[in-house]
Amino acid sequence: MLMLIFRLGEDRYALETSQVVEIVPSLVLRKLPHAPDHLAGVFNYRGSIVPVIDLRRIMQDRPCESCLSTRILLVRLAGGEGPSRIVGLRAERMTETLKVSDGDLVDPGIALKEAPYLGKIINDPQGMIQCIRMEDILPRSTMDRLSPETGVRP
């Protein structure tokens, strides 16, 4: 399977590409008043409003650097029992992909309640890469606020 590699600070992370819609350059987002910190804002994607989550804010409690390589990853999330919708995830140095097989993924055997999105680990010559489960990345409260009515219609 093809994994998208990005960084948050110095740490490398990987996301499965099967749910990826498209990667777009970082844009100027429309900020939402009273939105939580990790909700960086919204923008217009081909006519529909897409919320953008800052992954570094979620994991390291600080915003991404504004560089050319800081991009927004559009993924299709199955929003609970409701219809799926597109969400943007902002991360740094999103410039590479990696082909891995299932054997390359190693289970670390640690499950943190505060970080349920952490998956298996890939052992790469340049260091370990943490896989992230997309379904569990958003806190439940945020998921609830993303109602399907406001989401994009498939």
């Binding site: 399977m1 093809l2 998208l4 590409t17 099967s18 990826v20 498209e22 990667i23 777009v24 350059p25 050319l68 390589s69 991009r71 999103m94 410039t95 590479e96 992909t97």
Partner: protein
């Protein structure tokens, strides 16, 4: 003067008498010492010759005696041999006899048992009593008078034992029982025993018991021709009575004598034939002369090396018991070797000096007689000389007194005294010739007196005239001198004033010369200052121009740098564009890859393309980053350069302004200094003129001073001449005034 002449004549006479006497005395003295020395040498050699002759005479007497005794011994031996033969054949019997054999050298006793020696069957019994006759030996003595001994062989070594003898020991017994050992105590073989042992007869000098003998030894053979003993005959060497008396009777001088001492071994230094004062057998070996020298040892040493007819001499001071004082003794020494006799003839030198003393005393008498006769002749010469001197000197003394009066200038008295003499001696006659004739006769002295008289008269008239003239001359010369002195004083004053003026002028001239030199220096310095300032100004102009060029260049560089900066900015925007393109490309490749994945197997080729695109994009991004970095550095370098150039330009501009200011100041200086120079020159000219004027004055004044000095000098000369004239006139007057004339 009066005494001198008399002394001279007397001295001449004395020398005439003294000189031959002194020469004679000198010659006599020299001759005396020469003769005396020659006589002494002759006498000494005469003395030596005479004692040498005496010693040689004694030596020859000994030689004759020795020959005679040798012959006697030979005949004695023949007699003894005959007697032994007539007594019968010698044989050793079987009977034994006991002997206490005594070594004649060491006196050691050896007991020996020997067979009895028989002659024709008669045993020669030991007999030491001289009163009892012994066979054979006493018979021989009775016939020939010499000593005789029969020896028996003591052992195989050859020791010979005396068994019968006529020789007496010191105790006046027969010397029977002593033996001659074959070897002497010093280990040498006894010459007698060794000769006899060979069966031969020994002739010669031998020491027997206690004395030296002229001897002969013959072996005694038994019937088997074997040596059983030996026969001895001998004559005692020192008992040759005739020879002894002949030697002792010789007299040398008054008390000198001839005597003999032994030379070697036992008899060394022992008196053999005594002189007066010594006795037979006296030991003289240790005798010393008055200086402590061992003279006998010295004489013996000399004697032992002498050959036949040779004589040695020895001199020493000696004092015998009979002498009042030590006397010098000369000894002639001869050595008669066959008997080991040292024959000494001594002579007391003083006894040979009588003739010499007589000669010396007669020479001395001659000398003193010469002295006495010389003195006598001198006294006679002196008496005669004093008489003759009186005769010569009296008239000369008279003339001398007249001359002295004239010399004192007392012409008046001189004339009177001459007149007095003539009247006193001639009874009123005024003729001087008469006076001289009366006292001296008509000889040289008389003529002299006449001449003196004439001279006196002439002098008298001359001196009177000179006196008058000289007084006038003195007064005139005094006036001249006074006038000249006045003039000299005036000239000297003038000279002094001129000198002062000259000195002052010279000072002025020197000062203006110095000032002139100083002004020249100042002018030169002003000129050089001006030229230095000029060259400084032109240097500054060049500098200013250079600086201006520098400012322009700086400006150009600055504008160029600005252009570079702009270009760099342009490049930067291009780079940004490239970066964006690369980014877009990357994004595109990512999306492409994702889409290809979604397409599954159909998207595989596409995904490869997507990956390649992404790689190119990455490389582009990296290259762009490098360019960006380089551009950044260049930009900063350029901007720093721009700033630096701006600052530099500013500084140069300021310097240009400064240089301009300095240049202006120099200009001012130059113009001022140049204005000075002509002023200096006018001062200089004035000075030179002044110096020349002063010098001319000085020269003129020096000329004036010289002529003044010359005038003064001439005046001084004149003055001196006037004084000389005055002095001469005065001297003349004084001289003339000394003469007392008849007015």
């Amino acid at each position: 003067m009066k005494l001198m002449l008399r002394h001279k004549i007397m001295g001449m006479a004395c020398i005439a008498a003294l000189l031959p006497t002194t020469v004679m005395l000198l010659l006599a003295g020299i001759q005396r010492s020469r003769v005396s020395a020659a006589v002494r040498d002759d006498l000494d050699s005469l003395t030596q010759d005479s004692i040498r002759q005496l010693a040689l005479d004694a030596y020859h007497s000994c030689e004759a005696a020795n020959d005679f005794i040798q012959q006697e011994v030979v005949s004695n031996l023949k007699v003894a041999e005959k007697i032994v033969k007539s007594a019968g054949t010698p044989r050793l019997s079987s009977e034994k006899v006991e002997w206490h054999a005594v070594n004649q050298y060491t006196d050691s006793v050896t007991a020996a048992t020997l067979p009895k020696l028989t002659l024709g069957g008669t045993w020669i019994a030991p007999n030491s009593n001289p009163a009892i006759p012994s066979p054979v030996v006493d018979e021989v003595r009775g016939l020939v008078g010499g000593a005789c001994t029969i020896f028996q062989k003591l052992n195989e070594q050859g020791d010979m034992l005396r068994i019968a003898t006529t020789i007496r020991t010191a105790a006046n017994t027969r010397a029977v029982g002593t033996y001659i050992p074959a070897y002497r105590p010093d280990g040498s073989p006894d010459p007698v025993v060794s000769v006899v042992s060979r069966g031969e007869t020994f002739h010669g000098r031998a020491y027997v018991v206690n004395d030296w003998y002229i001897s002969a030894y013959q072996p005694i053979l038994d019937g088997d021709k074997k040596i059983v003993g030996m026969l001895f005959v001998g004559v005692e060497q020192s008992r040759v009575a005739g020879l002894r008396s002949a030697i002792t009777s010789v007299k040398v001088g008054k008390t000198g004598q001839v005597y003999v001492i032994g030379g070697q071994d036992q008899s060394r230094g022992r008196v053999v034939v005594p002189r007066e004062g010594y006795h037979d057998g006296d030991q003289l070996w240790e005798a010393r002369d008055i200086e402590g020298r061992l003279y006998v040892q010295s004489m013996v040493k000399k004697a032992l090396v002498l050959k036949k007819d040779e004589v040695a001499f020895e001199r020493f001071m000696q004092r015998r018991e009979s002498d009042a004082a030590p006397r010098m003794v000369t000894n002639a020494i001869a050595y008669f070797e066959p008997w080991d006799w040292i024959i000494i003839a001594d002579a007391y030198e003083e006894e040979f000096h009588g003739a010499r003393d007589k000669l010396e005393s007669s020479l001395s008498n001659l000398f003193w007689w010469s002295v006495a006769s010389g003195l006598c002749s001198m006294v006679v010469a002196l008496i005669v000389a004093s008489f003759l001197t009186g005769k010569i000197t009296v008239p000369i003394e008279q003339i001398t007194s007249v001359a002295q009066q004239i010399a004192r200038g007392d012409l008046k008295t001189a004339t009177e005294s001459i007149a007095e003499e003539s009247s006193g001696s001639d009874g009123g006659s005024s003729s001087h010739r008469g006076v001289i004739a009366a006292s001296q006769g008509d000889d040289e002295t008389g003529q002299l007196l006449g001449a003196v008289q004439t001279m006196t008269r002439s002098l008298n008239s001359l001196v009177g005239q000179v006196k008058q003239s000289s007084i006038q001359l003195v007064s005139t010369s005094t006036e001249i001198a006074a006038a000249a002195r006045q003039q000299e004083v005036t000239a000297n004053d003038l000279g002094a004033s001129t000198n002062e003026v000259v000195a002052a002028t010279r000072e002025i001239s020197a000062t203006s010369q110095e000032l002139l030199g100083t002004m020249n220096d100042v002018t030169q310095m002003a000129g050089s200052t001006a030229s230095l300032a000029g060259s400084g100004r032109s240097g500054l102009w060049g500098m200013e121009a250079n600086m201006r060029q520098l400012v322009d260049a700086t400006r150009t560089i600055s504008s160029r740098l600005a252009v570079i900066s702009d270009k760099a900015n342009n490049i930067n925007s291009v780079v940004t564009t490239i970066t964006k393109v690369a980014d877009e490309t990357n994004l595109l490749s990512l999306n492409a890859a994702i889409e290809a994945e979604k397409a599954g197997e159909y998207g595989l080729g596409f995904s490869v393309v997507a990956r390649e695109i992404r790689r190119l994009a990455d490389q582009t991004a990296v290259a762009t980053l490098d360019i960006e970095q380089m551009m950044k550095e260049m930009r900063s370098a350029v901007s720093a350069g721009v700033m630096e150039m701006d600052r530099f330009g500013e500084e140069v501009r300021r310097n240009v302004a400064d240089v301009g200011k300095i240049s202006e100041q120099l200009e001012t200086i130059i113009s001022q200094v140049q204005a000075l120079t002509p002023r200096f020159e006018s001062v200089n000219h004035g000075m030179r003129v002044q110096a020349q004027g002063a010098e001319q004055i000085s020269k003129a004044m020096v000329g004036l001073s010289d002529s003044t000095r010359q005038t003064a000098d001439s005046l001084k000369e004149f003055n001196r001449a006037a004084e000389h004239l005055n002095e001469a006139a005065r001297g003349l007057r004084n001289e003339v005034s000394r003469f007392n004339v008849n007015d």
